[in-house]
Symmetry: C2
Subunit: 347 residues, 2 copies
């Protein structure tokens, strides 16, 4: 049997290789690099093919495909969201992604994205805060101490200079896990027993909980003037974290409005409620924070371009690290018309 051509092989980054890649480069460096990549792609936002993600909902969760393209490279992510998974010992969110060459349609990268999604979500959160949070912020409340919490904490340390993280979760074991994982990483961690205690003195409040239901992690009276809210957990229809009144007092920043109107905190508001697109703040065509007393809210749901940026970053690191395998995924006969002959010759 002939050896498949190089087109047949797709570089594949397994979970194991992704962990090695992140540890080799350093977690905080990866987070900083991802912010740079995502920011660069947000600046050229109009160049991308954009579409709200394609969701398949069930009673217990959602499976989504998130495609985008910049005309040269196509990317998509497969991602699920199943809040009930956790009690069965499974991840709430798992993901993998792919890049392909627009000119040929051939895949050029397949990668795990469960870890990469946690990294890119944290990087996007910190990037937004870099543009929106009050000047000199040093303390962040982190409400929801699950799978994504430590990534958020380190991103805000690396990107925004946060020095203290105040942790709260309805399950104290989650908070304890978080405190332990963050030990020795240059962040002061404070385990809190109420959300009110967590937000004490915090200039930034991050909510990253997982319940698939209208929840009220933050009520209106908890949020003072000047705070930046990074609302990560409300990310599908029927799943929100903030009381509606907070939204009415906030300057709201979103990724892609057609998707955020369906999935974000702003699903609680009329469809014409004003929001600002984050990319425009970064590109300099819209105003970010207007004054020190404004409450800014990044209503994050996650958008395909962030995954695209992250996948391209991973791809750029493969040659130097060798941290990938070649996957025999694309049938590529010597004569492209002879697919059947290739099959016969495999006998």
């Amino acid at each position: 049997m002939m050896t498949p051509s190089h087109h047949a092989y797709v570089p594949f980054v397994s979970v194991d290789k992704m962990m090695k890649l992140v540890l080799t480069l350093g977690i905080e460096r990866v987070l900083l690099d991802l912010v740079a990549e995502i920011e660069a792609d947000f600046r050229r936002w109009p160049e991308f093919d954009k579409t709200a993600r394609v969701a398949s909902h069930s009673d217990v969760g959602v499976i989504e495909l998130m495609p985008t393209s910049d005309g040269e490279t196509y990317g998509f992510k497969y991602v699920n969201g199943h809040p009930s998974n956790m009690k069965n010992g499974l991840q709430t969110v798992t993901a993998f992604g792919l890049l392909a060459d627009v000119a040929t349609g051939y895949p050029v990268l397949l990668s795990e994205m469960t870890i990469l999604t946690a990294l890119r979500t944290a990087a996007t959160s910190a990037m937004a805060a870099k543009w929106l949070a009050p000047a000199g912020a040093t303390t962040m409340a982190l409400i929801g101490n699950g799978a994504q919490a430590e990534f958020q904490a380190l991103a805000f340390k690396a990107v925004c200079g946060i020095t203290e993280v105040r942790l709260y979760d309805i399950d104290p074991a989650a908070t304890a896990k978080c405190v332990e994982n963050l030990a020795g990483r240059g962040l002061r961690t404070v385990a809190c027993t109420t959300p009110e205690q967590a937000i004490l003195g915090a200039q930034i409040i991050t909510t990253v909980t997982a319940d698939k239901q209208y929840a009220t992690i933050l009520t209106d009276n908890m949020v003072g003037a000047g705070v930046h809210i990074n609302a990560v957990g409300g990310d599908c229809p029927g799943k929100t974290e903030l009381h509606r009144d907070i939204l009415l007092r906030s300057g709201i920043f979103v990724e892609y409005p057609p998707q955020s109107r369906i999935e974000g905190e702003i699903q609680q508001l009329p469809a014409d409620h004003p929001v600002t697109e984050l990319w425009q703040v970064i590109a300099g065509t819209a105003t970010g924070r207007t004054d020190a007393r404004q409450i800014t809210l990044f209503d994050s749901v996650g958008f395909a371009i962030e995954d695209f940026s992250a996948l391209r970053y991973v791809k750029s690191k493969l040659a130097e690290t060798g941290l990938f395998d070649n996957l025999d995924m694309i049938a590529d006969p010597n004569d492209p018309r002879d697919l059947f002959g290739m099959l016969l010759r495999a006998a």
Copy 2:
């Protein structure tokens, strides 16, 4: 480092394993099995989540995602269509696909689908002809002798009892390749030098060409009464194979009208031109061929449910054949909330 749990591994069918699987089972048996699977799923058509595929078009081709779900299993295919690839030694169509568990969102199969798509497309074509072609058909014209041609020929032999295939391609080398590949497989092959010669005496005409442009592979005067046309190659906006007048004389059968109106031969017709959904013929709720003189046309563009059926079939054969690898694609820490800890422990 701990061994990943079984959830971390996704069974993966590579190109090599797919070829071995098909050859082990037998090509015609696989085609017959696929018809049975696709037919069973078409009978329960209303149970599926259906959506037109999500296409990303460029000047040279298209990249598509084709998701569906039956409420228990979710599936999607990635597929490209790049007619210009062939002259660069690449496949016009490459594909891979995935199945996942709706209850958890965890993937349960990743598979090459370049070969599988050729098989499922041929199986779907032959299935439609089984329901629509004139009784006693023995001869098929096969216009377009590229990567999918032999699969079509064998499917019509196995499923419809075709004994003679009359081959035509604008490139005689493609026809010669086809004749050679089909030798000794129980089909009489006739290499033809014009489309008119190919359709001589044929009760079924299959067009499976690849040009991304409005083409006229068949003109109106070439198609006589009673013929069944299996139009496979017209499958995206701006890509058709039949003269419009043929459509006006035919009973037209399609897979999923919202997609076929955009991509199929019927993009040449007004949006309200009557068509019949093939699944309804199979389920007994719509009429197929009305009489011996009717021209029936299966305006095939390929629909996600066919891929779903094919992927489920492949999955059902893995335990007995062992023809798969385990891919470390899903991060699955022992404590689902401790994704970060898993990363740290990989050091």
